[in-house]
């Protein structure tokens, strides 16, 4: 593979049960699970997206259910380069929560983070349920705050890939290059770069191969 690969840490934010994990499952496995249990176990998925002259490897971090009682650790989104802020188009409360997360990200996350506001569960409306969050309202929030905006259905797959493609196009190239230089997580060898960061796992012999090396 000769194209350059860039790792992007992407985090999911939003009220419990708005379909954060379902969007990821659709994106990563093109699958959907009805009545999905709250997220347990896997909290870290990767998916590559070909962007033409380069490839983006999304490292997608799930909340591991910590949002359920408003107990998500700031560490979770601190170094993120991209975030999906998800709400349920039939639940106004979840949109209020989305506003809160956008604010929190602007205060706590890195300055050039790319945020996508995602209204999920569009399929329920298409099946006759009442829309409770106006598209215009969400669009105006996105415009004010400089967010990408999509309405999706993880169930039908509608628009899900576009969310990730949109983020891939908007990731600043500078960030992307820095990230590529860093070698990504899980690279083997002692990870002491110019700024002397260390990879604690390196001397353990079995550097985790799961997330792979970017070469």
């Amino acid at each position: 593979m000769n194209t350059s690969v860039t790792s992007i840490k992407l985090v999911l934010l939003g009220e419990a049960a708005v379909g954060k994990s379902s969007i990821v499952l659709r994106f990563v496995s093109n699958d959907f699970a009805e009545n999905k249990e709250p997220t347990i176990g896997a909290a870290f998925l990767t998916q590559r997206v070909n962007m033409g002259d380069h490839t983006i490897k999304f490292e997608i971090w799930d909340t591991a259910g910590q949002e359920r009682f408003a107990s998500l650790a700031p560490m979770y989104y601190r170094n993120a380069q991209a975030a999906l802020v998800v709400y349920d188009v039939t639940k106004p409360q979840s949109f209020i929560k989305a506003r809160h997360w956008v604010k929190e990200l602007h205060e706590q996350a890195s300055r050039d983070i790319v945020i996508a506001l995602v209204g999920n569960k569009l399929d329920i409306i298409e099946n006759g349920a009442e829309r409770k969050v106006a598209r215009e309202e969400a669009e105006s929030l996105a415009q004010q705050e400089g967010l990408l905006f999509f309405e999706t259905s993880a169930k039908t797959g509608s628009n899900v890939n576009d969310v990730f493609l949109g983020i891939g196009q908007k990731i600043p190239l500078k960030t992307a290059q820095n990230q590529a230089q860093d070698g990504g997580r899980g690279s083997s060898g002692l990870r002491i770069n110019d700024d002397s960061r260390v990879d604690l796992r390196a001397s353990n012999g079995q550097a985790t191969s799961a997330s792979g090396c970017n070469c």
Partner: protein, 451 residues
Amino acid sequence: MDEDYDVIVLGTGLTECILSGLLSVDGKKVLHIDKQDHYGGESASVALSQLYQKFKQNPVSKDEMEAKFGRDRDWSVDLIPKFLMADGELTKILVHTDVTRYVDFKQVTGSYVYNKGKIYKVPANEMEAISSPLMGIFEKRRMKRFLEWISEYQEDDLKTHQGLDLDKNTMDEVYYKFGLGSSTKDFIGHAMALWTNDDYLQQPARASFERILLYLQSVARYGKSPYLYPLYGLGELPQGFARLSAIYGGTYMLNTPVEKVLYDDEGKFQGVVTKEGTARAPIVIADPTYFPEKCKSTGQKVIRAICVLKHAVPNTSNADSVQLIIPQSQVGRQNDIYVAVMSDSHNVASKGHYLAIVSTIVETDKPHVELEPAFKLLGPIEERFMGIAEIFEPKESGSADNVYLSRSYDSSSHFESMTDDVKDIYFRVTGHPLVLKKRSQEEGIQQQEEE
């Protein structure tokens, strides 16, 4: 939410979060509660504005503070200063649990020791040792023989013991055997073995031997110093272990005070009542603040002063991070004074600022005066936050009531005593010793589909 769990954990300090993570990985159903609205308890890292609220009578306005010290959100100040030993137990736990995925570490640039009015770099390798002004030429040779003895020592090869018995000979006798002078003893005992006082001299040498070995192995790991420090502060550590627990099904509730603790007829723990309802479990693990009546003071108090500087600590070659130890004998005390220095390069201070956290065990009724020798070494101090913490420990083992309590964080400069507490509580709770296994690869499941 009325539910049953295997273990309820109260308080999200580092000790509790590591235990919560380990027990969740073991398959236990864990409920983890904190009365505060943020992770970390005493081991949190906080913003500058939170320091003003916590320590100052008349807090300054945010605008005034930011004009002086930069953006509040760029600060992440440890309430309890410590470093990780690169080859220490906490590092091992981090690696074995893969929590290294969530936290980035950097080396601490230098380890320094105060000697006769000056500060010296603790040599990190043989070259530095040879050129160090800390010892004269003859003392260097004796020191070299001592270090060779440490590195060549094999438990089952008597020849390598050089006639010393680690369990019978005191450390002072070991020093005597190698002919080491008093300032070298100070340097070895306090800057390498990291003892906070001189009690170790009259105790069997084994504990000192092991500590020196840990120091040497930690230096050997990455080179500059034996210490590591997480980007964004120590408060990242409890959050990382909490995430580990959550990934394995642990339930997290911050900002949830415990309204009532339930016991059965025999006085055994049964559960807790909170605003979310009743949660039941046969076992609770908690920090001392949740069960003050079941804790006692150790009689020790630690004073800590968080100092904001606009410069690197003088005479440290402008190091961005430093551990500076002032051995007790150098300043007529019984306990060492520690200074932990971090800066914007560890993302704990705004650009151009340094944090120096000075701490020691209180010996007099004027504790702030006890820190003066350290303040003198720091140069101009822009702002200072001082607090005294009493060290608590549980009265009982927990076997009678199934209430297992952690100890307060002590004055030591690293996490080794904290990890001892983790392993001890783990053993008492589960009945078997903690065996660190490499986590399997559930996380980071590679999806190789190409678009």
